[in-house]
Amino acid sequence: MKVVNKPISKIDGMDIATGKPVYTDDLNINNNALVLKILRSPHAFAKIKSIDSSIAQKVPGVECILTYKDVPKARFTLAGQSYPEPSPYDRLILDEYVRYVGDEVAIVAAKDERTAIKAMNLIKVDYEVLHPILDFEKAEGHQSMVHPEDDLHVNFDIGINKEKNIASSCKIEHGNMEKALEESDIVLEKTYYTQAQAHAMMETYRSLTYMDHTGRLTIVSSTQIPFHVRRIVARALEIPKSKIRVIKPRIGGGFGGKQTAAVEIFTGLVTLKTGKPSKIIYDRKETFGCTTSRHAMKIKVKLGADKEGNIKAVDILSLSDTGAYGEHAPTVFAVVGYKTLPLYNQAKAVRYMGNAVYTNKMPAGALRGYGATQGTFALESAMNELAVKLNIDPTELRQKNIIKQGEANPVLGSTKEGQPVVLASSTLDKCIERGKELIRWDEKYPRKVMSDNKVRGIGMAITMQGSGIAGIDTASAVVKLNDDGFYTLFVGATDMGTGSDTILAQMAAEILETSMGKIIVHSADTDISPYDTGSYASSTTYVTGNAVIKACEDIKNKIIENGAKLLGVDEKEVIFDGECLKTIDEKAALSLDEMAQRFISGEGKNQLMGTGTFGGDTSPPPFIAGFAEVEVDKETGKIELIDYVAAVDCGTVINPNLARIQVEGGLVQGIGMAMYEDVVYSQEGKQITNTFMQYKIPCRKDVGKINVDFVSSYEPTGPFGAKSVGEVVINTPSPAIAHAVYNAVGVNVRALPITPEKVLKGIMSK
């Protein structure tokens, strides 16, 4: 391969690095957009008795103020999922009920921010304060009902029971659990808690909207899901989808946060009502407190094994906090099971079940890892505790029980239950070995005493994710041969900084046997781009990549077919090498440049376009073995991360540099979740970690040495053998660090984050 598997620099790298104006707010070129501010609920749960904006309306420069009385009444979900979305339609643009501190009460549009804030402060609202549900373990059967409305809608059965505050329920089961547990010599049962985590992408949520010259609503938005935004906005605003265009410029990070259409409806509505351009930019507090976070969960794991360490049963019972709205509630919940149960393939019985419940806190939503992260912390922590009980090396316990390449598993693939999918590619066993070598496991396990109060411990965990959503998500690509002999590749996927535009161009260049400089990538504009479900669920490399390959093969065939016609020979008699089409006898030849000009001219009358669409029948899992070394201060509980090693199987690595950065970045986000990050609410339900002062993402000093290595496999259904890498990277740090802390000081922290307080308490209670 000439272009694929090479460390090519990102095609937009130099421009974004050096500060060119390419992000949503930089593109407000006329600088005359109305500025939107949102009045928010001070109560966790309340009904609006009356709302008076008459004085606020009189502030000079105020364009419009909208309350629940002024907005369309069709319920929708903001979850960016393929239609029909599994998330409940439980939202209105503005509702009579407010369901968390920060929920929207009124939209104010004014000539500038200062005026909008002044007007916002003059709106008078009288609330009937209701009893909020703040503890998700008490939500089921609580006296309050978060969604009392009659018109809440679901597209299909997701196990919703709104009278009991259950947003969805799920059960996955294979084998006879009772029998498997009975046959086990040892049964271990532990309960784990994972916290809500914030995305904390650097560019906050923002959208800019205007009417075009044909009366269509144009939305420029920092989004991962332009096509879903079009559909969601059309439903919420009750206008035809054909009247909406969504343009995605450069994105300043997403991590799943921008898979939920947090802001586009507000600017869309104001522009529709006023005919004027409008923009909204969430400040950091709104981004933290009024969008979404990771679903907090309580996960009980029951493991059964024989004395030799053969795992017989994996039984997981979970409870998920979806907050005030059900964005991604059923799917995140299911992924906990689907991305953990197949790992230990030797188990005779596996089961995953439980509920996602409504509470009066900020809604949860999609976040990198999407349930697999929560499930991995619980399952892998339990495995490490089981290893202690069995007195067996935890790496050996894994090697004995993990799924191997060529084995079938009933839960793998996750679409057609009961039809085992064969694992076509995996080097997980080798990843464990490689990781052990890199961290020097045999030398360091389980601990090393450094001084009177400092001990170093090492720990490990394994994980898997998927590559796109099998049977549901699809992507298309179009490649156009331009008249000057270069190509434009149109995709609907979103590059959030991951480098997906670049790796898709690499794949195109490889198939078309040309250089990167001859591929222009256009992404994404719903008027122009071919359909793509969006950049989430670890899908871009795998799903969109496969579509790109198909499109490029299509146009290549057309070039050969049409080029042969120009030469007046049969297409079997020519060879195309990317630059030149020659007859086999080399007597006649045409350059791509010449062909391109003649195809499009009066002679050829043919604009060559190649198209390709792909949707996976399976969702091939990438794997990681993660290893942590920590130093714990026994007197203070302080944990220092010394070293983190990740051995990664993501199939063929399309771009080693970009893949490495994806892994390093995801590991650090996982380290943040493991050790620092926590979305905390006051007793009244107000989020108190809503700035970077209170919500601590890792800084440069919090990251020890990070060592990433790829142990490639070849995924037969993947583009050039590739699988995904974006999400799987966040899953191992929490259980591996928890394990390392246990190995250092003998304390099992079962509730994230693993703070010095929890470690010290554990040490003191021993």
Binding site: G13, P21, E664, C699, R700, K701
Partner: protein, 149 residues
């Protein structure tokens, strides 16, 4: 109120509110490289130089820069590209939203520190957050740029 400043070596008269922050004024006047990430002086995205010293423009009141020299990355494109080459080669720019502020700090560091240790580099750059890269790729790029790898 009106203030007179030099931005990227060009004399300018700016109309600013007395409670307005420099970051908002710079963006209003078209210096769109300057990004806002936190409003609390915590993330470093809005870093510009005032009289050659890196400062957080989201925590600098605009009237206080009257008479001063302000430099944004638009004013040091050549130097920025020199470092960006290293950054992009590592793939460590990712979403790029934090890069202009980060690069302004890196360029200031290069002027200030000679042959820094890894620890000194990390310390100098700690105020610049990044959520994408995990920092280690950025560190590789900085070390190569500083010639200390």
């Amino acid at each position: 109120m009106k203030i007179n400043v030099k931005i990227n070596h060009k004399e300018m008269e700016l109309e600013v509110g007395c409670d307005e922050f420099l970051v908002d004024v710079l963006r209003k006047y078209g210096f769109l490289s300057v990004k806002k990430g936190c409003d609390t002086g915590s993330c470093g995205l809005c870093t510009v130089w005032i009289d050659e010293i890196p400062v957080l423009s989201c925590a600098t009141l605009a009237p206080t820069v009257n008479g001063k020299n302000i430099t944004t990355i638009e004013g040091v494109q050549e130097e920025a590209r020199d470092f960006a080459e290293f950054l992009v080669k590592e793939g460590a720019e990712q979403c790029g939203f934090c890069s202009p502020g980060f690069i302004m700090t890196v360029l200031a560091m290069k002027k200030e520190l000679k042959n820094p240790t890894e620890e000194e580099i990390v310390h100098y750059l700690t105020g610049n957050l990044c959520r994408c890269t995990g920092y280690v790729g950025q560190l590789r790029a900085v070390k190569k740029y500083m010639g200390v790898s």
